[in-house]
Symmetry: C2
Subunit: 198 residues, 2 copies
Amino acid sequence: KDYSLPNASWSPDMVGLYNELLEKTTAGSWRRLPSYLYSGQFLKNFKSVIRNSTLVRTTKNSSLRFLTKMVAEKEGHGFEYAIFHNPLEKKCICLFQPGPHLEGLPGIIHGGALGTMIDSTFFITAYRSADAIFTGTMTIVFKSPVILGSVVRLEARVTGTEGRKVFLSCEAQNSDRTVLFAEASDCHIPLHPQEGMG
Amino acid sequence: KDYSLPNASWSPDMVGLYNELLEKTTAGSWRRLPSYLYSGQFLKNFKSVIRNSTLVRTTKNSSLRFLTKMVAEKEGHGFEYAIFHNPLEKKCICLFQPGPHLEGLPGIIHGGALGTMIDSTFFITAYRSADAIFTGTMTIVFKSPVILGSVVRLEARVTGTEGRKVFLSCEAQNSDRTVLFAEASDCHIPLHPQEGMG
């Protein structure tokens, strides 16, 4: 099941932005990315390498689940999101509606939840645009609090490379882009298949 | 219910470190902090201010839950942790056992989950030591991957102040402190009760 499709918990704002981006996929270079319960489902090249590593053998596979899908069955309670990728421009737009299970201070989003969505958007951008998968250093500047249930529009892009490192930046804004919730920068590092996991 | 008490999912490593710290609470200045499903349960001074704000009235209170307690009923699946505070030294130690629902790359922790635990430890340290509650800028340097089910020992401390800002640093290591998983820095900003939420 693809968990990035609209469901009944999505607000009109969220659905509106989603439909705008979906329209762009029919004409231009934008693509809608599906999203699954397990990370192995969206990793192409590295999947077999990582699945064979000692890291995986130490865990119980039956209950493994991608962090943002912790409560995926409870529609609207956790991370509701959809990510669109533009390979030519090396950027992603993520539409994110944080549910009531992502609380930090009363009524507003936990910094870790916004950080998780920023990290995931960085990951997808780096992976899809440059095959880089490990997060190196991430910096987040929190500007204003996000009310639970509102819509966050994240836009991440590759800003440059240095050796094997891929640098990215991200802005998190409200639906009409008049409020800046957070700015972030990040570097990602590729995994060469022959290296395994360390 | 206090969700920071040992349960059947805790590994011997986790229980061992917990008992070491518990011992320190009987003699010195360390305190074990309880941990609840809702953030309002651990906020003392700011609770009424924040509960009255417009931010809270827009959300459905019945399903609100602190991010790290998303799947608290499934022991061992999500964030298992206990935080100890030393008010004299203005620092906290958090013992954290990430469960299989916190996956990023196959078999290892999502950067956002480690970031969430770092952010929560920073928050508690800043709040308990300096009444500061808003995260300003957080930087995390990821050094080596954390295997799901292993133990992470986080130590955060106040490193200084500048005007109203409180600066902190944090190290995340393995149980015997021979592997550095991540280093982080952070600034927190106090909320004055008369200010409300903005």
